[in-house]
Amino acid sequence: MAQTLFEKLWQEHLVEKQSDGTDLIYIDRVFLHERTGSIALSSLRADGRKIFCPEQVFCCMDHIVDTYPDRSDETTMPSGRDFIVATREGAHEAGLTLFDLDDPRQGIVHVVSPEQGIVQPGITLVCPDSHTCTQGAFGALAWGIGSSEAEHALVTKTLRVSKPKSMRVSFEGVLAAGVSAKDMILHLIARFGASGGSGYVLEFSGSAVADLCMEGRMTLCNMAVEFSAFTGLIAPDHKTIDYLRGKPYAPVGTLWDDAVQYWQQLSTDKDATFDREIVIDCTDIEPQVTWGTSPEHAIPINGLIATAFGHEAQASGYDKALEYMGLTAGQAIAGQPIDCVFIGSCTNARISDLRLAASILRGNKIRPGMRAICVPGSMQVKAQAEIEGLDRIFIDAGFEWRASGCSMCFFAGGEHFDFQQRVVSTTNRNFESRQGPQTRTHLASPATVAASAVTGVITDPREML
């Protein structure tokens, strides 16, 4: 029978069906980070439970660590040290692989895993972090879980999961210049709502997805959770295989050939059916920016604030969001003055993102008085950017050039943007106070953020290409 890629991955990992209607799914690899992983590891220790397969468990320090050059276990977040130390001790005690603070491979979990070749097509991978869906870009079934489920996966090598439905999202056509993967996913969420993917595993396909580089595909899958999807994934192709070749954890020797042969089978059969299909014409997609406090509040950069396109406008929600953001319905979003820009996060802080932003910043300066920060997605991204001289472009433009971590994608109690500051950000969440107390976050692509940094107002990047 014809199967979707998701169906194939599910069957591949189905240990057995349970009497309560869930499926017991084998988990190949687990990632932890110091924010939630520390709690899972401490809890297991307190309960006297052992990790079954520690060689398949990896830990990153990313959520709480500072990104200043001289950082240490002491963090600007009060008590951050406790999380770092608990994770380190827990990882050492259990024999897990840890990408620690001083490791040249350190970085954000969903950047590090692909860089190291730990995520691979056909595997299941979970992490107590909602953006684990990022790694679905490799044709893996990768999804975010809570701490309790992480403990379950660590101890039993499985999860009990109610099988999600399947949805294919086909992006057809060619993206216009200045439009990127971030704009594609914001467009999808705005059009179908922040809960539009609830209960589904998304398979992203179509010519525009095939055209994306692996890093763009990761950006696309990254925000599947912002669409409330169980996860997102993309069938592996030659780009996937080329990306993984030679990575530290990629197979070697004849096993590489065996793996590639298997990976090449991982696609949706021609006659397979999905529970739902969405087709998006990419010629419709303009650079996107959010005006409100949910990713569904995205509009084309030349659009007007609080005008819904697609799903039903919820007037009461709009009023609250407008009040919070200090904006009025019907205003143009372009031209809104901003205080800060942030380039970072598991969404948009890979080398291609930094190259794109740098191409706009080159020879320019940020508007005086503004704060601009670039936090590379990993120390490897940072090193590569420095080889290419991108760090000089950012610094000369007036950016702070940081070490890697999640940084100000969220306010953990340490570093933050200030009260009611307006920030244009390459991150994934524009929730209230996400980047600092009462900060006003506008989500956008690296190109839009870089263009806005130069002008000091929300700016269409196509004007600066």
Binding site: D20, K157, Y249
Partner: protein, 206 residues
């Protein structure tokens, strides 16, 4: 884990969509490597006047006398979207919340609820608005009753049926620990594990 059979309580309205887990418990309130000590940080951004402060924002529903002891939340679509932080559920539970009623939930949040004895209860937006209006007439008297085995919510003298996946119902009603439950399948899992090592050996090469 405590069993969830029936619950009678005050239902507080938080009738907005996309109440995210950052709003339920801001990251800055997750101060210790612990599942405890989080109730005070529940809805901190709305509940208190200043970030990190503890002066009550008078208009927030939990700061109103009638709703202070609420154990049920009535909310809008996509409750618990966003971050996977289980702290959101631990904070709700510590505050005393046993049920959240909403038209839809963030998937990870709903799973986290079930692991911690909280019921994510799905009802239509209009029904929730009607319940909230009835509760508002006299919140302390007009309590809402939830009967999980019967899959029924009673308010305003009427009973509404709700759907819940059988596994979730069983976990809650029997107060099961998922790890212990799965460990009874150990032999099957171990067999699968060995088979996978021979089927996809490259995953075990390093």
């Amino acid at each position: 884990m405590d069993k969830f059979i029936q619950h009678l309580g005050i239902a507080a309205p938080l009738l907005r969509s996309n109440v995210d887990t950052d709003a339920i418990i801001p990251s800055r309130e997750m101060k210790r490597v612990s599942k405890q000590g989080l109730g005070e940080g529940l809805f901190a951004g709305w509940r208190y006047l200043q970030a990190g402060g503890r002066d009550a924002a008078p208009e927030f529903v939990f700061n109103q006398d009638a709703y202070r002891d609420a154990s049920i939340i009535l909310s809008g679509p996509n409750f618990g979207c966003g971050s996977s932080r289980e702290h959101a559920v631990w904070a709700l539970a510590e505050y005393g919340i046993r049920v959240v009623v909403a038209p839809s939930f963030g998937t990870i949040f709903a799973n986290n609820c079930i692991r911690n004895g909280l019921l994510p209860l799905v009802l239509g937006e209009n029904i929730i608005a009607e319940i909230a209006a009835w509760v508002a007439q006299d919140p302390c008297q007009n309590k809402v009753l939830v009967d999980l085995p019967e899959q029924q919510l009673q308010a305003s003298g009427e009973a509404v049926n709700f759907e819940i996946e059988p596994w979730a119902k069983r976990m809650l009603v029997e107060g099961l620990d998922a790890i212990s439950l799965t460990q009874t399948r150990w032999q099957t899992i171990d067999r699968f594990h060995r088979h996978r090592q021979s089927l996809r050996p490259w995953l075990y090469q390093h």
